[in-house]
């Protein structure tokens, strides 16, 4: 089976999960105490006004009708109207999602770039000082709350050293005219990098630690493989063995752990955005909850789910693309 067909099939398989996410989100949102209309109109609204609003948002219909209306809405890209922002939910999400994705991508880039060398060195020098340091660093990394790392980074690098800004984010696609102190696109990008640095480390540390641990154990296994022994017997230099023979095989579990790490990272993004006051999806869902904006709560929750599912599919496809043993047929 071709890679394209495998890709399409993976997406088709994800449909029931996506419907499941919509269902869970819908019924959770329906449990939320309080009346959204009351929040909109204040505590003592006129009866006709309440009924008009209820009819406008479809709140007067029975729950199963609303569920199917919502489901078909989601299928056509209509996530309803945000009561708080008075704009379509999808529009708000499209505004905020790129910010969160930028944060996530940079965090994973940081994690992968630092973790892979750390893990490889650790495995190569097993039980030597370098290995111990790398293991301690990754142990601390998996045990530290990301938001606390953020706070410590702000205290040290923003307040004491003054190297990086403590909050906010300049979007790379922002108009240079709107960005203070930036006349050209390059300067905007420089400011983006400057702002992104601390949140990237705050969010990426956990992923870095997890990837290092897997990279190490996977490389240790891989370096004991028959093909490595064979290469050694043929007199292939050790550096070539590590780079060419052991490394490639060892990357498969790493890809898996990156896929699974997406879930933690998406949750971590909510915290990191709070710490650094970045207006992404995480802040959007918290604003939605604090203002009991039902449609926005549902919309943001299910977009978080969708992003994760798509991320997992992408890692699965990468996995099968890289692993010579995986055929695209039945599992």
């Amino acid at each position: 089976m071709s890679l394209l067909r495998y890709t399409l099939r993976r997406f088709a398989q994800a449909i029931p999960v996506l419907i499941g996410i919509v269902t869970i989100t819908f019924f959770l949102a329906n449990q939320i105490p309080g009346d959204p209309v009351e929040i909109m109109l204040g505590p003592t609204p006129a009866q006709e006004q309440v009924e008009a609003i209820r009819a406008q948002y479809g709140l007067d219909r029975p729950i199963h009708v609303r569920y199917f209306t919502y489901l078909s809405g989601v299928a056509t890209g209509d996530l309803g109207l945000s009561i708080y922002y008075d704009r379509p939910v999808l529009e708000m999400i499209m505004l905020r999602l790129p910010v969160t994705l930028l944060l996530m991508l940079s965090a994973f880039a940081f994690a992968i770039v630092t973790a892979i060398p750390l893990g490889v060195i650790s495995a190569k020098r097993r039980n030597e000082p370098a290995d111990h340091i790398s293991r301690i660093v990754s142990l601390i990394g998996v045990s530290t709350p990301s938001f606390w790392i953020g706070l410590v980074l702000i205290i040290v690098f923003a307040f004491y050293l003054g190297w990086f800004p403590a909050r906010g984010l300049v979007l790379p696609w922002a108009d240079p005219a709107d960005v203070r102190g930036a006349a050209t696109r390059i300067e905007v990008l420089r400011q983006t990098a400057h702002h992104l640095f601390l949140p990237m480390i705050g969010l990426g540390t956990l992923q870095m630690a997890q990837i290092t641990r897997i990279e190490r154990s996977s490389m240790v296994d891989s370096l004991q493989g028959e093909y490595v022994k064979l290469a050694r017997a043929y007199g292939v230099p050790e550096s070539t063995i590590v780079r060419k023979h052991a490394f490639q095989v060892a990357q498969l579990p790493v890809i898996t752990i990156i896929g699974l790490g997406l879930s933690t990272a998406l949750g971590g993004a909510v915290l990191t955005e709070t710490v650094f006051e970045i207006q992404g999806m995480g802040r959007l869902i918290i604003t939605a909850i604090n203002n009991q904006d039902y449609q926005l709560i549902m919309g943001t929750t299910l977009v978080f789910g969708f992003v994760y599912v798509i991320g997992v599919i992408v890692t699965d496809i990468t996995y099968s693309y890289l692993d010579p043993r995986v055929t695209y047929g039945d599992e």
Binding site: V17, T25, S143, T144, F147, G259, V275, F304
Partner: protein, 328 residues
């Protein structure tokens, strides 16, 4: 066709220890065997010490809170409400100085934004963290074990339905799921615990299910079935006890994960509500004073770090100690 299909193979591989026949398996399960292995493994021992110490602190705080009605805490803890004239806010730890004054021995770690003692609040935070960590894990373990065992043992449509449901739960990033869950049902600590427990169900479900599927075909299970032992008894008397080691490892790690998630939730304002001291909520309050009183943000974080490291070291140590491949 799981959305995590890339990982399921690894899990089964991890779960399948290579011990031989039934005799050997019997010798490698159970509490006594675990304790013996833990004693011999340095990492597991260090983890046990940290976890033991934190548990002791938590029990001490609970004892003071429930039985002595804050008697011990009152002695060390300066309560600003009783003496509003003499509130010392945001003091640094003893031996340090900041714009609010000099650290005093009375408050070894300093005070918070309302003049409360940080050491006692950090100690009391342990009670919340440990309780939530253990109970959330217990909920996840209980739910996951039942679902995983039933699913793996019966297979067929029961398996399909249960696995699709847990997969869907797993498909929503867990912090977001717990936030949505708590928005729907309640913002306090009980729901934080239940919410985090629910997110842990898929983890244990997959672990138990993969074990059950591999053990189901073992000779001694076949024998039990042939002898007319009921399905329920086979699951709970044979299959689950034989999954003890990997479950124990996962549960230990899960306590750490749960503590991290609950700290994050409290940081966002979900979970323990003021004035109950919890680490996440202390960190959240400290955000406004990071420049003048940075130490306020440091200690609750260190408490989380040490506790979670304890569970992670213990989990890793247990894994090595109970892995027959290493011990052989």
């Amino acid at each position: 066709m799981s959305i995590n299909s890339a990982t399921s193979d690894d899990d089964t591989a991890d779960g399948g220890d290579e011990s031989g026949g039934p005799d050997e398996v019997e010798a490698r399960v159970g509490l006594r065997y675990t304790l013996k292995q833990v004693r011999q493994d340095t990492t597991a021992r260090i983890g046990t010490y940290i976890v033991g110490f934190m548990t002791f602190v938590a029990v001490f705080a609970a004892f003071d809170y429930y039985i002595l009605d804050y008697a011990i805490a009152e002695a060390v803890l300066y309560n600003p409400e009783t003496d509003p004239e003499n509130v010392r806010r945001l003091l640094p730890p003893v031996g340090m100085e900041n714009q609010f004054g000099q650290g005093v021995l009375e408050h070894p770690l300093g005070t918070d934004h309302r003049g409360r003692d940080l050491l006692s609040r950090t100690i009391y935070g342990t009670r919340i963290a440990m309780t939530v960590g253990f109970l959330a894990t217990a909920i996840g373990l209980g739910g996951g074990t039942v679902i995983g065992a039933v699913s793996g043992y019966y297979g067929g449509w029961i398996d399909d339905v249960l696995q699709r449901v847990t997969e869907t739960i797993y498909a929503i990033p867990f912090l977001v799921l717990v936030i949505a869950f708590m928005t729907a049902f309640g913002r306090d600590l009980t729901f934080a615990m239940v919410g985090v427990g629910i997110t842990a169900i898929p983890v244990f479900n997959r672990l138990i299910r993969s074990r059950v599927v591999s053990i189901r075909e073992e000779d001694y299970v076949e024998a039990a079935r042939a002898a007319g032992v009921k399905d329920r008894n086979i699951i709970f008397r044979h299959i689950i006890p034989n999954s003890f080691a990997p479950v124990l490892v996962q549960a230990t790690l899960q306590v750490g994960v749960s503590i991290l998630i609950v700290a994050g939730l409290s940081f966002l304002g979900f979970g323990a509500q003021p004035p109950t001291p919890s680490w996440g909520q202390m960190l959240s309050a400290s955000r406004g004073y990071m420049l003048p009183a940075p130490t306020f943000s440091i200690f609750p974080g260190i408490a989380i770090l040490i506790t979670v490291i304890g569970f992670n070291i213990l989990g890793d140590g247990l894994q090595d100690a109970l892995d027959p491949r290493i011990n052989n």
